[in-house]
């Protein structure tokens, strides 16, 4: 058995897939955010277990060292996933702003009510 980047990638992607499934089962990662990671793990697994594909792709893009396709894909994926995370984060921060405002307005209303009750 030859230890090379493919073998490491296969092992890594299997472990990675297990880790994600475990996180979802324990409710530490929401299903909707786990889908992209599962997809990533799956693609990594397929590509690294079939070097034939990798070499095809490498030849197509004129990449001299085939395994670097893995790195390239990994990096592109991380960039896209990061962008996705910032989009999710932006949406949440808008929601938090709205919640903050609503809480402030409700607090004012509550104080008004309790003041009214005391004066009665």
């Amino acid at each position: 058995m030859i230890v090379n980047v493919y073998l490491i990638s296969v092992l890594f992607s299997v472990l990675f897939l297990f880790a994600i499934i475990e996180l979802v089962l324990k409710n530490r990662l929401l299903e909707k955010y786990s889908l992209l990671w599962l997809l990533f793990g799956f693609i990594l697994l397929v590509l690294s277990s079939t070097p034939f594909f990798m070499e095809k792709i490498a030849r197509f893009f004129d990449i001299k060292y085939a395994p670097s396709v893995l790195f390239l894909l990994g990096m592109v994926y991380l960039i896209i996933y990061n962008l996705h995370i910032t989009v999710v984060f932006s949406r949440q921060s808008q929601k938090i702003t709205r919640l903050n405002q609503e809480i402030a307005l409700l607090k004012e209303m509550m104080e008004n009510l309790s003041k009214g009750n005391k004066s009665k």
Binding site: Q94, T97, N100, Q101, I103, A104, L105, K107, E108
Partner: protein
Amino acid sequence: MLLIITSKSCSPIAIRRWVNLDGPKVLVIIPAYNEERSIARVIADIKRVCAADITVIDDGSSDSTAARAASEGVTVISLPFNLGIGGAMQTGYIFARDRHYDIAVQVDGDGQHDPGYLDVLLGPVISGLCDMAIGSRFIEKTSYKSAISRRVGIAFFSWLVWILTGKRVKDPTSGFRAVNRKLIEYFSSSYPTDYPEVDVLVRLYKKDFKIREVPVEMKKRRDGISSITAFKSAYYMVKVSLAILINSMRSGELS
């Protein structure tokens, strides 16, 4: 507020309100972040010149801004944590919308806006001449003195608004503003969070709202420091310009 209507009641809308609804309901919104030294004075000054309801939006202050404001007998809405001027003002607009106010005025909590000009500001909005009136420092020669850098910044934003909308606004960063019911509702659903003053102008012009500048004087800040310090101003200009440019590319409804 009735005095204003009698002096400016040329539009049918104002007259109808005058007859049926006993004048428009006006809310003064004071956004305040750590303004404990000036807030009571600001409220007292406003009360001296008009009978409108006053609401202080305490933007997560760490000092006693909320308590000082409450002891003046006005409504205080305390945000659990700091949102910045845009988020604070929007809270005020939501409050104004829910309590059925016809007009909302923004007066800053630091005391730089002179409430003596409230009637000048409210006049054109109440009479229906415009949707938003902006208190401008530069329409008439005033005693307002400011640093060169600030003037350059204001001139730049004025130019930016002109480039994007073709409209001239002499004091686009002024926060001394009055808006009508239409804009209260619009701002309740959509208001920029960070530095809203200039951004809002471009949005409103794109949506064909009417904006009018009225001459006012502004005082030097009484206490505290401006939210725009010298170090932050360059960053502020880049950030706001970028936000405005991106907004002007947007076609649909803004969130």
